[in-house]
Each structure stands twice: as structure tokens, then as C-alpha cells.
């Protein structure tokens, strides 16, 4: 029953969103057909959807590992931006050339810097929680704004692209560090494969390692875990570092795979969508892959559909939000069994 919950939730969402599409003056079935075609009809649509799914998989994984340990990291958006700016800090064309190091050194350094930037941003709220008992939800939400302002500051100052003509944009990433395209003439890049590998790695950590077990234990009952001798605070910090690193890598992959620059609008809320994805996947790292492709499909498909049928593409955000809410209800009911008493 639990495995059916996501499908029931999506079905309910599509029914519940229908009146909104009708209110925008579009035929509902044609709109959904257009949405599906925009997301999966043809090579361009599919590659675009998978390109969009790449950062979403990583923010989804970031939310999934953190939520597993009941550490509510809502700051993936900020961690993504810091990861992106750290990638350009290491691998950018500063002064026209950037660091004079072989890309064999620079590429791993760039990944590490991005992961570290995301992890460090989340380390603050994690320590505040374990040391002072400050609720991490509000602090991580607030760090999103701090991170975005910090990036904005850097784009105005030291990281500014001298050729951008006043547009807030960072220096370009060294072209040698860009992720190669998977399909000729389309935007899909190897970051997608790396994200898949990371999903497998996170699944392994979650299901097959001591850390994964500790995360489950702390999430299920922190008091019992402490009683069993587990260092709950330290486990929370480790979870946070992993979660922040994943969100930071989402930013690295966006810069290295898609944008080549850091801009202030490079993420249309990927950090927040990651939470929806993690919930749709019931916090299962492999489920995150599927859920991320679904959400990416909705976002990409709605763009195409909205151009054709004049339905505002904010319908995608409504569908994503509604699927989160209906998923919550569906998982709750899936835990009960209806029995007929004769």
C-alpha cells in the first residue's frame, strides 16, 4: 500500500489542479497532454527534463538524509548558491586565466570546494541545534537569505564578471572544468550521471552503513538513541555535513554543467523543491531519483504547455506543492488497512 501512495497523491494532485487550469481558460486534458509532451515527448524534452532533474536529485537527497535523522534542513537553496560560488572561486577565470593548475587537480578541488561550502553553511545551524538547542528550521530558512545576499555581494565585488556590463554575474568557469554533454547538441551533461552515482552512494550510506543506522535511530527516537550510547549531537552534525555537501554539489553541477556563471536567478527554488522530492520519495534515496524526474518533468512540461495554452507556468509550482500535501495525506492513510467486517 505504501508503495502506491505516490501514485495516488499525483493522481489526486492532477484532479485538484484541473479547476485551476480551467480557470485560466485552457482545456484541461489538452493541457495535461501538453505538459506530458513538454516533459517527455522527444529527445529535446527528455534531455531537458533530465538536465533539470540533476540539481533536484541532489537537493532531494540533501533533504532526504537530513529529514531521516529528523534534522530539518530547509536551507538547501542557500547551500546550493554557496556551492556554486565556491566552484567558481576555485575554477573561475579570475584575471582571465584562473588558477594555473591542471584540470585534473582543479576539477576535484572544485567539487570539494562546493561540497565544503554547502556543508559549512549547514554546520552553523547544526551546531546551534546541538549546542544551544536552537530549532534548525528557522535558522536554516534564514541562512538562505544570508547566503543569497553574500553571493550578491560577491557578484558585485570580487567575483564580478568584468565583461558582464553591469549585470550581476560571476566570472566564467574555466571551460576545461565544464561537465561534458551526454548527447550531442543537447544540454544534458555528465552531472546527471554523477548525481545518479551519488544517489546510489547515499542509498548505500543510508541502508548499509553504521552512519545510516545511526541516522535512522536518531530520527526514530533521539532519546532512545542517546540511551543506547549513541552520540546524538555528533550524528546530527555528521548528517548535516552530508546534507549540506549534497546541496552544495547541486550548485557545482549547475555551474559546471549548465550555466558556466553564477547568477542570482540560477535556482528557481531547487532547494525548496528538494523537500517535496524527498517527501514524495518517502526519504528513500533511490526514490529521490524518480521523484526528481517527476518534479523536473512538471517544471519543464509546464513551461512548454504554458507557452502553447496561455496557462501561467506557476501552475507547475502549484502542482508540486499540492503533490507534497497529498503525499502527506496518502502516506498517512496507506499505513492503515481498511477491513470489511461482515
Amino acid at each position: 500500500m505504501l508503495a502506491l501512495a505516490p501514485f495516488a497523491a499525483v493522481l489526486f494532485t492532477l484532479i485538484a489542479s484541473a479547476p485551476l487550469i480551467a480557470a485560466a481558460g485552457a482545456p484541461v486534458l489538452r493541457a495535461y497532454a501538453g505538459l506530458f509532451a513538454g516533459a517527455f515527448g522527444g529527445v529535446l524534452a527528455i534531455t531537458e527534463t533530465l538536465t533539470r532533474a540533476t540539481p533536484l536529485m541532489l537537493t532531494g537527497l540533501a533533504a532526504a538524509v537530513a529529514f531521516r535523522a529528523h534534522f530539518y534542513n530547509i536551507g538547501a537553496e542557500g547551500q546550493l548558491y554557496l556551492g556554486a560560488i565556491a566552484a567558481v572561486l576555485v575554477g573561475g577565470m579570475h584575471g582571465g586565466t584562473g588558477f594555473a593548475l591542471p584540470s585534473l587537480v582543479l576539477f576535484p578541488a572544485m567539487l570539494l570546494a562546493g561540497a565544503l561550502a554547502g556543508a559549512l553553511l549547514l554546520l552553523g545551524p547544526a551546531l546551534l541545534k546541538t549546542r544551544f538547542g536552537v530549532d534548525e528550521v528557522v535558522t536554516t530558512l534564514l541562512t538562505n537569505f544570508l547566503a543569497l545576499l553574500l553571493v550578491s555581494l560577491l557578484l558585485d565585488g570580487p567575483m564580478k564578471d568584468p565583461l558582464s556590463m553591469g549585470w550581476p554575474q560571476s566570472v566564467a568557469l574555466n571551460p576545461d572544468l565544464e561537465l561534458t554533454k551526454l548527447v550531442d547538441r543537447y544540454r544534458l551533461h555528465t552531472g546527471f550521471l554523477l548525481a545518479l552515482a551519488l544517489a546510489a552512494l547515499v542509498w548505500f550510506i543510508d541502508a548499509r552503513t553504521a552512519l545510516g543506522f545511526e541516522m535512522h535511530a536518531v530520527g526514530a527516537n533521539a532519546r532512545a538513541a542517546r540511551f543506547a550510547g549513541m552520540p546524538v549531537g555528533w550524528i546530527t552534525v555528521k548528517t548535516a555535513l552530508l546534507s549540506g555537501a549534497l546541496a552544495g554539489l547541486a550548485g557545482v553541477f549547475e555551474v559546471a554543467g549548465r550555466t558556466s556563471y553564477v547568477t542570482l536567478d540560477m535556482s528557481p527554488g531547487y532547494g525548496y523543491s528538494g523537500i517535496v522530492i524527498a517527501m514524495l520519495a518517502q526519504l528513500n534515496p533511490l526514490g529521490v531519483v524518480v521523484a526528481a524526474i517527476f518534479v523536473a518533468g512538471v517544471l519543464v512540461g509546464a513551461d512548454g504547455m504554458s507557452r502553447a495554452l496561455a496557462v501561467p507556468n506557476y501552475i507547475a509550482d502549484v502542482i508540486v506543492a499540492l503533490s507534497l500535501l497529498s503525499m502527506l495525506v496518502a502516506t498517512m492513510f496507506a499505513r492503515y488497512r481498511i477491513r470489511w467486517r461482515g
Binding site: 534564514l142 506557476y314 500535501l325
Partner: protein, 309 residues
């Protein structure tokens, strides 16, 4: 520099700005406080403020009176509160995730509806917002505020009275501390919590409407910009007390007004982003300072299921 700050703080326009900035924070903080006193975290506030700002403004744009707009915002806020109550109280789902879901839903629905209503506008359409009522003119700082600010200021003693001086208030505080005791009294835990969330969310809706009906005259995307989250932080700062919530909101607004002034007067000394970071950094600092002393409502974030210990 020090003298300049002092001059600013002692000037009347400064305090006019402080009250204006504080108004949505007061209303929002009281809304969160009411929900949390009943034992339910409401992270829906950010989205409910967006929905209140949009729906109130839309009603006025279509010819309703300003007060009808406020009422519409309150009702829309209450409806989203009802959704949050259904998910967190009746279905006992995670209050964190449900609240975020309500925020995402309310925000996206507002943006979608705005685009449906105004498909091709480039400059946002405007309304005639609240003006300072004539019977207030002449009073120094208050004379330049609108009726909604007075409403927010009046809401503080009202909520204090309700929470501390009425049986309903006692029951609401009790349901946030010990729902079993409430059940033992023959009162409905679910009913009380639902009522508190709905009323609190209505306040959040009005908090949003203040921005479109009084502070500005149009609806912009991202106009709430984290104000809801700051209210959640302010409630912790206020130790769940309405009086301290007012103090916290005013203090916060004073810092915000000060950073705006410093940003203008000391232009170029520091990048403007540093000033914009201050409110968020300050909120985190307030949380840290208060967290040790925080007397959380004992049942906060604990869903109540009948018959369960």
C-alpha cells in the same frame, strides 16, 4: 557616526518608519504565537502572508472597500490555517513538513492567480491604500500611521486579555502544555487547536494584507521576503508572550529602519548587502540568546491522538 545614529533614533520620521515596519511583524508574530501556544508550529505563515497580501489587494482592486479587503485576507488566511489544522491536528502529520507545504501551496497559488488575473501587465496595477485617519492627525508618531497599524497595536492587549483572562485563553494555553489535561476537562483538544490555528492564520493573512493595502499600493512577487520566518523567530525571542512579542517586533523594526538609514547616509562605506543581512543575522542571534531560557509550550510539535499516552 555615533552622534549621527543618535540623531536618527531621536527623530520623528525614524519612529514613523519603525511602526510601519513593525506592523506586519506584530500581526504575524501574534498569529504564530497563538498557534504555538496551542501546541502547533505553523510554518505556513510565509505563504499565508503572500496569500493575504494578494487576496486582500485583489478584492480592493475589484472595487471592494479597504476593510473588505482586510476581511478577505483574514478569511483566506483562516482557510489555509484550516488546511494546516486538518493536516497537523486531525491527521497528526509532521508540523514542519505540513507548514512548508502550506507555504509552497499558498505562495504558488497566489502567483498563479495573479498571472491568471493579469496575464500581460508590465507595471503592477495599483489601488488607493489606507491613509492616516484624520482624527489621529496632530499626534506625533501615531498621527502618520494607518488604521491597520492601530489594529496591530490593539491586537496585542486583546490577545493578552484573551490568553490570560478568559476561560478560552486558559484552555488554549493548556492544550499547548498538556492536552491530556484538556481532555480530562471534557474539552476538545482538536477543536481548540483548530480554532487557534485558524484564528492565528487569519492574523497572518492580515499581516500580509498590510503590505499591499497600507505600506504599498500594489502586489509584487517576493514582497513578503522572509518576513514570515522572522515572525517565527520573534516568537521564540518573545518567550511566547504577546507583550514581549510587541517589544521584539518593535526592536527588530528599529534595527531594520536604522540599517536602511545607515545604508543611505553612509553610502559606499559597506556594500548594501551587508546592511540587508543584518535583520536575518539578528534573528538568528536572538534565537541563540533566547534558546537557553526558552520556555517552550510543553506539547509544541507533539500531535495528540486520543487514547495515546
Amino acid at each position: 557616526m555615533g552622534g549621527e545614529i543618535l540623531d536618527t533614533i531621536l527623530s520623528v520620521p525614524f519612529w514613523v518608519a519603525v511602526l510601519r515596519i513593525a506592523t506586519p511583524l506584530i500581526l504575524g508574530t501574534l498569529g504564530v504565537l497563538l498557534c504555538e501556544r496551542a501546541g502547533v508550529l505553523n510554518l505556513g505563515i510565509e505563504g499565508i502572508m503572500v496569500a493575504g497580501a494578494f487576496s486582500g489587494w485583489l478584492a480592493v482592486f475589484h472595487g471592494a472597500s479597504l476593510w473588505t479587503g482586510v476581511l478577505v485576507a483574514a478569511v483566506v488566511g483562516a482557510l489555509f490555517g484550516l488546511l494546516h489544522a486538518f493536516l497537523t491536528v486531525w491527521l497528526a502529520l509532521s508540523q514542519h513538513v505540513s507548514g512548508l507545504g502550506v507555504t509552497l501551496f499558498a505562495t504558488s497559488l497566489s502567483y498563479f492567480s495573479y498571472r491568471v488575473a493579469f496575464p500581460k501587465v508590465t507595471t503592477p496595477p495599483v489601488i488607493h491604500p489606507f491613509q492616516p485617519p484624520p482624527w489621529l492627525s496632530g499626534i506625533p508618531v501615531l498621527g502618520e500611521q494607518t488604521a491597520l497599524t492601530l489594529l496591530a497595536l490593539a491586537a496585542v492587549p486583546t490577545l493578552m486579555y484573551v490568553l490570560y483572562r478568559t476561560p478560552t485563553g486558559l484552555a488554549i494555553r493548556m492544550v499547548g502544555e498538556s492536552p491530556h489535561a484538556v481532555e480530562g476537562q471534557g474539552l476538545s483538544v482538536h477543536g481548540l487547536r483548530t480554532g487557534a490555528i485558524v484564528a492565528g492564520s487569519a492574523l497572518m493573512g492580515v499581516a500580509g494584507a498590510f503590505l499591499t493595502l497600507s505600506a504599498f499600493d500594489a502586489f509584487f512577487f517576493t514582497m513578503i521576503n522572509g518576513r514570515g520566518w522572522i515572525c517565527v523567530a520573534l516568537v521564540v525571542f518573545a518567550s511566547w508572550r504577546p507583550g514581549k512579542a510587541l517589544l521584539g517586533a518593535l526592536l527588530f523594526a528599529a534595527f531594520d529602519a536604522l540599517q536602511l538609514r545607515l545604508q543611505q547616509s553612509s553610502g559606499g562605506v559597506l556594500p548594501y548587502q551587508v546592511y540587508l543581512m543584518l535583520p536575518y543575522a539578528l534573528s538568528i542571534l536572538a534565537l541563540v540568546v533566547m534558546a537557553r531560557r526558552a520556555a517552550y509550550p510543553q506539547a509544541l510539535m507533539k500531535p495528540y491522538r486520543k487514547g495515546e499516552r
